[in-house]
Each structure stands twice: as C-alpha cells, then as structure tokens.
Subunit: 371 residues, 2 copies
C-alpha cells in the first residue's frame, strides 16, 4: 500500500466543493490537545463565526463532530420524543431522510408532499397545521440538495409559530450560499454541512438551536437515545471557555479547516458571498440555456449554488460524467432517486463558485456533448 495522492479535480457536483488552499493548509497544522487553552479559544471563535454565518444570536451554535447526516440526527434525536407529531415536508431525498429520523425516534410523521424539483407548497403546510392541532414540530429542507429547489423558509416558519410548533430546517446546501436568516425567519433548530458553500472539508455539521428548542430538549420526559448526540451533554463540551466538560474528542484538524473557511467568509462578507454565488449562477444559466439545456426547477425557486438541469435527449449520462472526470478533471453530480439518469447537478458552491469554473464547465460540456 502506497501513500495516496489524489488527482486534482474541479468539484462542481452537489458537494464536496473545491476547498481553498488556505483551508487545506490549515488542516495540516500541528494537532494540539482538545483541552488545550489555544484549542478552546479556537472553539469559541468558531462558535462566534458560525453565529455570523447563520445570522443568529443563539448561544447554542456549534459544529457537531460528524457529517451533515449526524447534524440532522442531532436535531431529531434531541427534539422528537416518542409520540410527538411532526409535520415533515418531502420534496426530495432529504425530506425523506427527515421522515426516517422522526419514525426511528418514535415520532409520528405527518407528510406534506411536493414533487421533486418543486418548492414546498406553503398552503399545504398551513392545511396540515390546521388539521393537526397537536403537531409539535414542522420540519423541512430549505435547499434540497437532491433537486436544487429552495423553499420559503420564512413563510413556513411563520406559519409553524402561529400554530405553536418548533421548526427544524435543513440548510446543508444553503448556508453561506444564499440568503439565510435564522433569527429573523424564526428557525428553531438548524443544521448544515461544511463541504458545500463553506468550502471546508466534509465531516462536520454546524447547528444552531433557539431558546425554545433548548427548552424542549432540556425538559424531555425520556432521555435522548443517542449518547454521542445528546445536546444536554454536548452543550457542556462546547460551553464557554474553561468550564468545558469532557464529552468526546473533537476532530481537531478538521476544525482548523472550518475555522479558516469562516475567517475567509468574514473577510469576503456574508452578503457578498451570496452575491458571488448568484452572479456565477447567472452566467452559468445563460451559457447552459445558450446550449439548449433546460433547468429542472422553476426560476423563482432555483438555488443559485446548485443547478439541476435535464440531460439532453439521447445523451449517455454516465459516459458524459465519466469523460468530464477523466479527461477534464471536472466533477459534476448525477441525479438521485427518480431523477437518476435524467438530470445533472452542477454545483457552484463556496470556492467552486468562480468565474473560471463557470467557463471551464461550459466549455468542457460543450466539447463533450458535441463529440
């Protein structure tokens, strides 16, 4: 077995996205102890920077030491108790995964369904809330990574609160890529990933919980099934400064990477980052439409950072992606579930959202499709 030297790719799939050299360098800095005062100071800074990225004042804002799927599970494991009724909106893979979480933790899932590629229909959520006065939580995906559709998080959260429900929102693909305002929109529990628009390596899931969500989890009648994800314990580990209680060993070097990506986010400015994603999306959109390629999602519901397009008739999906990867070192994403073989997902996330990438993707796709 030899040392592994990966090829140098341009990552324009649904994530991981390209990681900036500054972030990669940060990963390689010397490992220090997870109880070292310097590490604790870095943890505090990371929490503050995540508050900035989420636009929240939530004290409980921190990175979970595992990928986005574990961030999702952190929300449901802590907030759903056996018997709790949860309204869950499904319009793609990750809404389905939410439902799976709800039932595994003993909750009762009330499904609000929309077609893959469409946004969650706000009126359907309202109807479900009216029909289920005993519902405790509304869960939905803000930015569906499987389709590239974004839903109206502000409107759904407002409705949920009118009906005294907490909200759990998946923002794995939206955080730092498009408008997201945790406090203003009234999101109670949110999770994301590092490997999308933050452009840090995968393996960590930033989360944030409102006071109302903390109230629910600290007043549970039953213990959280997961010891590893029990926020009653994890909060002590990520608590302020020196008062931290040992829980698990944090992924030290991966957190160096996340910290550096957050430094870069603050240097650019969050709103500027949103704009950059939008501008590059506009160019890519014009280029693809110029080639006769059509988008799956309606214009008003489209995520700029994840462009899902129909594969032109007669084109071999796997052959094209494989040629792009092997001959151009360019990765674009395949479709999932019912959309497998029918769509491509072209990501413009974080450091991948650059003019040169848009040009490369356009030119490479043009060459391969006309070959």
């Amino acid at each position: 077995m030899q040392s592994f030297n990966p090829p140098v790719r341009t990552l324009m799939g649904p994530g991981p996205s390209d990681v900036h050299p500054r972030v990669l360098q940060a990963m390689a800095r010397p490992t220090i102890g997870h109880l070292d005062p310097f590490f604790i100071e870095m943890m505090d800074q990371t929490k503050e920077a995540l508050k900035y990225a989420f636009k929240t004042e939530n004290e409980l804002t921190m990175p979970v030491s595992a990928p986005g799927s574990a961030g999702m599970e952190t929300c449901f494991a802590n907030l759903v108790e056996p018997g709790d009724k949860v309204i869950v909106c499904i319009n793609g893979v990750f809404g389905n995964r939410m439902k799976e979480n709800i039932t595994r933790f003993g909750g009762e899932a009330v499904v609000v369904e929309d077609k893959w590629g469409e946004a969650v229909t706000v009126e359907k959520v309202e109807q479900a809330l009216k029909e289920n006065g005993d519902a405790k939580i509304v869960a939905f995906v803000h930015a569906e990574t499987s389709t590239g559709a974004q839903s109206d998080a502000k409107a759904i959260c407002a409705l949920a609160h009118q009906h005294s429900c907490l909200t759990i929102v998946d923002t794995v693909t939206s955080l730092a890529g498009s408008e997201l305002r945790v406090d203003e929109w009234g999101i109670d529990a949110i999770y994301s990933g590092t490997q999308k628009c933050l452009s840090a390596p995968p393996g960590i899931s930033p989360i944030s919980f409102s006071e109302a969500a903390i109230h629910k989890l600290t007043n549970r009648k039953t213990p959280v099934t997961s010891w590893f994800l029990d926020l009653n314990l994890v909060m002590g580990y990520w608590g302020k400064g020196a008062k931290r209680a040992y829980h698990h060993t944090a992924p030290v070097n991966t957190l160096y990477g996340l910290h550096e990506s957050l430094v870069m986010l603050m240097e650019e400015g969050l709103e500027n980052t949103w704009d950059r994603h939008k501008q590059n999306h506009e160019t890519l959109k014009a280029n693809l439409e110029g080639m006769g390629i059509k988008f799956v999602v309606n214009e008003q519901d489209r995520l700029p950072q994840l462009n899902t397009v129909w594969i032109p008739d007669g084109v071999d999906d796997a052959a094209v992606r494989s040629t792009l990867l092997n001959e151009y070192n360019l990765e674009i994403g395949a479709g999932l579930g019912d959309l497998a073989g029918k769509v491509w997902r072209i990501g413009l996330m974080g450091y991948s959202a650059r003019k040169e990438n848009v040009l490369l993707a356009t030119a490479a796709l043009k060459e391969v499709l006309s070959a």
Copy 2:
C-alpha cells in the same frame, strides 16, 4: 478573527497523540468527491489496512465517520435490541459510558464492577454469565483510557462464547499500541479511535464486526434507532468497489490522514509497533520510578502506551501540567472522575512513543517538580 496558528506541542496525554508530518501533509491534499473512483479505491485500501491492524478477516471492517464515542455507539445501537440483557464490565470511565449506551437503547445492563485502575476480574465475568443465562452480549474495555489498565480480552471473549454471548470490545487506546487479535481472541464487535496509537487526527472510529455480529444486526426485530449509524445502511456505502450506495458524505481529508498513518503502520510492521511502545514504556517507567513516582496499575495489567502515575504528595496537579504546557510545550493528561487531581496520565501513543519524547518528559517533569 484571524487564521489560527496553533502552538507546536509534544502530545503525551491520553490522546490525541502527536501526528507525524507525513500524516498532516496527507490531510492537506486536494479534496476529491466521495464517489470519485480514486476515492473508492482509497476506501478499499483503508479497509484492507484496518483488517491488518485489527488482525481480522472480517469483511465488515471500516472507519465510522465520527469519533470513538460514535464507534462505541455504532456497536451498541446495532447490536442491542430493547430488552436484551448485556453484561457490562466497569473499571473506569468508558465502561460506564458503555452502560449508558446499553440503557439508552433499551437493553438491560448487568454490571460487573472492578476498581478503577484494576483489570476486569475474569472470574466475576464468569459468575455473571452463570447467573444470567439469558444474557446476549458481554461488553468490556480492553484498554481503559481513564486508568491505563488492560484486561484479558482473550479470556473474557472465550467465556462469553462458552455462554453463547457476543462480545463488544473497546480498543480505542489499544489498537496499534499493544497486542490485539480480533479473530484469534473471538471479538465480535470492536471499535477504536484514530487519535491514539494510530497517530492520525481525531474524528474517525475504525470498527470491525464478525459474521455472528452481522447476523444479529441484519436480523433485528426493531430498526436501529440511529439512521446515521445503522450498519444495515452504512455497509452499503462502504461496500466493495463501485457497488456503493450513497449514505452520507465521508470525511474525505481526514480519511487521507488515516490512510497515510496505516501506510506507515504497515511499513513499520504491527508487531514492531507493539514492541516500540513497550520499549519506550520500559524506559519511561525506569525514569519515573527513579524519581520516586509510582504507577497506579499493577505491573502485569499495565498498558505500555498509557502510564498512569500517582501525583507525588504535596504537588499541585494543575500548576505542574500548566507549567509543562506553557513552558515546555508538553501536554500530559489529568485524571478523570475519582482520579481527578490524584493521577497523571502520560501517553506514549503512536508517533508520540519515541525515545526523544521519553527523555523530554522525564527531564521536564524533573525540572518542574524540583522547582
């Protein structure tokens, strides 16, 4: 907020241990997609190398995408069903954590208790097995990170099998640091960490499951509570070659680090690695005893890679550790639980198990204690 530049420490606590520059460099290699053929090839190599490190032919040998605590939870979440009786041996922090896992997943814990700092008493396990004919699992910690005691895994597993029980074994601190033979000893489910004797950064937990363990988890009557850790799903993601099914996004760069540390392990040879830990332990032991410092654990039950010693009378625990850290950049570990303030844990794990570290630790401790 500025880029984070950690101090350069010598890590001789209970982990994380020093990470070799080769491993740090591997972490900084370009991120590629987790479905990239090159990444899949690296995953296959990593699984093979973990089989080598565990001394097993178990097909289900893989790294969990989260720290050791999640590796522990993977074992209990998948193998314990509500109502299952589990004999759990407690002789330190991590045995207690096992018990917590058992009860959270609805199991009934039968506790076999030994003093902190002592090995598990094999006769007590036998007694418990005789008294609990309906027990399904025996769980214990091979190498207690909180005390530095190692237990006789071979004898306990043999007894468990005589009574038709599966075994779950914590080897977070033993893997690659001292003798460990999964197949020969009959371990059914094992978990470890990367940040101890493998000297890779924290954040990943290698596990291995025997055929008998797989039979139990694939024949459960109830679903695994955790979606993220459900091996029925994760096995598909870490399955052989191109047949992999998307589950979550693997921590790509951290896995580069683990891969490199496994390459180095194979270069040195597993048995040579065990020897190196032992030799450095012998030197450290002689040096410490020469200073009148006494070990907590009986000689025959001592882990060479984790030296737990009584703090000499009248010495200020926190002041010494803090001076070592601030003035010598040397980290040693504090005691946990009842041993807090009474012991130090001096690690010689992985890349930290070097002659120069033994000399440094001895000399620095001598200076600080005589100051």
